[in-house]
């Protein structure tokens, strides 16, 4: 297209075709509402495009965005994890207690926290896969368990990490702002790219989609669906553990209230990003758009001084609408007439 000399009909056609193809991409159709949202935000309050504000959006979204990646993978295989927020609450205080109260070296505390997150997530995954308990019920139970543990560990009081050995450097890394962003932000972008490639190009990705689309068919085709499902829980555990540690690096204080509502943000971002809540479809590009949109939305609500709590009403509505479209699309594909 960049060569201006070839301006015959053929090139024009192919340009149109490319354009059509481009707009047919699901990710693009999700992008439009984001653009509309941003335009509305700018016209209502020009401060929205203030670089400082944009950087804040970037830093804020990367933290729970990490968790949304794991959630997206779990949802793609047809499961749900509602315990992610509560797990962050537990792991972040566990990390602080391990480093400060138990005087463990920081590296050990970090590794221990991440392993614990993986262990908890794996337990959820095993219960879902092996005992065949519905993932909603399993992870709501896990939510109770983690919330209880987080509060028991701290008596619901904040735990600072500061006196722990080596916490100076740790906090400097966590609070530094390379290019006005945070290291978490770059990690988030990197992981989005890596998982996008894994999903689209690797055998694992194809198996993951197959499992989510129809687990029985996938199993008959020789996919170890149990292992795929379990693996998404394990990946999610690693991400939850890392996010909890990074959260402490930024905040310097552990708190059993951190992470509350993150499951809501993550699942809403997944739904907005065009990832099927029933499983089997979606991409990481969609997810990042969903994450950006979610963060912009809460930012706009603040800028416009709208009641913050309107957000959960909005998110519930979005979740239902996304599922309605998803179900309709599926029925169309399957040619079901109801």
């Amino acid at each position: 297209m960049s060569v201006p000399e070839i301006k015959n009909g053929k090139a024009g056609n192919s340009f149109l075709r490319t354009l059509k193809k481009f707009f047919a991409l699901q990710e693009v159709s999700i992008m439009l509402p984001v653009l509309v949202l941003i335009i509305i935000a700018i016209s209502l309050n020009p401060n929205f495009v203030n670089p400082l504000n944009l950087a804040t959006i970037g830093r804020r979204m990367s933290m729970w965005g990490l968790i949304a990646i794991g959630e997206a993978l779990i949802i793609m295989t047809g499961n749900f994890d509602i315990s992610v927020g509560a797990m962050v609450a537990f792991i972040n205080v566990f990390f602080c207690v391990a480093a400060t109260t138990w005087h463990l070296p920081l590296v050990i505390a970090i590794l221990l926290s991440i392993s614990l997150a993986v262990a908890l997530s794996t337990i959820s995954g095993l219960i879902v896969v092996k005992l065949k308990i519905n993932s909603f019920l399993t992870t709501i139970a896990m939510l109770f368990i983690c919330k209880g543990l987080a509060k028991t560990m701290t008596n619901a009081r904040p735990v600072p990490i500061a006196p722990a050995q080596g916490s100076d450097l740790f906090l400097r890394i966590g609070q530094s702002e390379p290019l006005a962003m945070s290291w978490t932000f770059f990690l988030f972008i990197l992981l989005i790219i890596i998982f996008q490639i894994i999903l689209k190009k690797s055998a694992y990705g194809r198996k993951l989609y197959a499992t989510g689309d129809n687990a029985n068919v996938a199993r008959l085709a020789g996919v170890n669906t149990d292992l795929i499902k379990l693996s998404t829980f394990i990946i999610s555990g690693v991400l939850i553990g890392s996010a909890s540690v990074l959260l402490i690096a930024k905040e310097a204080v552990g708190n059993a209230n951190y992470g509350s509502g993150w499951e809501l943000s993550a699942i809403a971002a997944v739904a907005i990003g065009g990832i099927s809540l029933i499983g089997g479809a979606g991409s990481m590009v969609g997810l990042i758009i969903g994450v950006i949109m979610m963060q912009c939305m809460s930012n706009i609500l603040v800028l416009l001084q709208i009641n913050q709590h309107m957000q959960s009403i909005l998110l519930g509505t979005i979740m239902i609408l996304a599922t309605v479209f998803d179900v309709k699309r599926r029925n169309r594909i399957l040619g079901k007439i109801d």
Binding site: A141, L315, V324
Partner: protein, 353 residues
């Protein structure tokens, strides 16, 4: 295993009274209940003291009222996890309306009750709309029940915060706090100047269990619920209007949930926004412990009654035994998992036999 076979043989042979009793599923759940009560009693004798018993009965009734509705819904093959939010919304919305409109301008007059009852009915009507919405999305648009009700759960929780801005609503009308709340009880004993008795919610709970147990066993609507839950397609082919049954279940549940929330508000003397937080799991766990098949079609309200008792006795018992209050949540989570797994084991055994 052996005793089970013996039981069956005995029943076949003589049908003796005792074996009949033990073959009823509810009796099987009664045993852990009795064991738990005795266990907590031996650890801490205060567990069976009058104030504690009456307080357990009062608290469990709030969950129990919702559990009756949830049982009907689960028997009909659906599930709803938005009940906690709906209860909370009932609590804050009714109290908000009462104070906003001064009970139709009758606040602090002898006719205050008209406003209180009026707004309670209005709130139940509004909450039944949430049930209707859930039913519409799940029954007619055929969305997965879990995704839908978790979305409504979050949306309604948001609505609670929008109404209250996160602040409790008080003071409330005297009639609401006293006549419906603290004073509404049948006095039994008097300890330390405090009258203890059977509270209104508990009476209501038992009444609901009895009424709906009769409805389930003796009426066409009840039989239709079981039929819809055990096999929807077959029920449809048999001419049952499964759509109507499921709509009714969702609406009954939402109304009972809002009623329960309002009763909590009356007893705690404020419209407290976190009312109902986490109820859904306690209630579903209570149903599962009570032997209600989570896949639908099997179970009874007597089972739910016992299940609700067990959940609440464990809660209170843990406090009395001296376990950290925060750890209770963790124990609840583990109980939920065990209850749900027991349900799956039961189902598998039924399929095998």
């Amino acid at each position: 295993m052996n005793t089970e076979i013996n039981n069956v043989q005995e029943k076949k042979k003589s049908g003796s009274f005792l074996s009949k009793i033990f073959s009823v599923q509810e009796v099987g759940i009664l045993i852990p209940l009795i064991v738990l009560v005795l266990l907590f009693y031996f650890i801490n004798n205060a567990f069976l003291s009058a104030p504690n018993v009456f307080s357990i009965l009062k608290v469990l009734a709030f969950y129990g009222i919702v559990a009756v509705g949830e049982t009907l819904l689960i028997l009909g093959g659906d599930i709803d996890i938005s009940v906690g939010s709906v209860a909370g919304f009932g609590a804050v919305f009714s109290t908000f309306l009462m104070m906003k409109f001064n009970c139709f301008g009758l606040l602090n007059t002898p006719y205050e009750w008209i406003g209180v009852i009026g707004f309670m009915i209005i709130t139940m009507a509004v909450c039944s709309l949430v049930g209707f919405l859930n039913a519409f999305l799940i029954v007619d648009i055929k969305l997965p029940a879990f995704i839908t009700t978790i979305a409504t759960m979050w949306a309604v929780r948001g609505a609670i915060m929008v109404v209250t801005n996160g602040n409790p609503i008080y003071p409330l009308p005297k009639f609401f706090m006293d006549t419906i709340g603290t004073n509404a009880q049948i006095p039994i004993t008097k300890i330390g100047g405090e009258t203890l008795g059977i509270s209104l919610p508990f009476i209501l709970f038992i009444l609901l269990v009895v009424v709906f147990e009769v409805v389930l066993r003796r009426t066409k609507f009840g039989r239709n619920i079981y039929a819809t839950g055990s096999n929807r397609e077959v029920a449809k082919l048999a001419g049952i209007n499964t759509r109507k049954v499921r709509y009714m279940n969702f609406i009954i549940l939402a109304m009972l949930a809002s009623l329960s929330g309002m009763l909590v508000a009356a007893f705690t003397r404020q419209g407290y926004p976190p009312i109902g937080d986490g109820w859904e799991m306690l209630i579903i766990a209570g149903c599962a412990i009570g032997g209600i098949a989570l896949a639908g079609g099997y179970g009874s309200l007597i089972g739910t009654l016992i299940g609700v008792f067990i959940m609440n006795i464990v809660n209170t018992g843990l406090v009395m035994v001296g376990i950290n209050t925060f750890l209770q949540q963790t124990v609840q989570g583990i109980i939920i998992l065990i209850a749900v797994y027991a349900d799956i084991l039961r189902r598998n055994r039924k399929v095998l036999s």
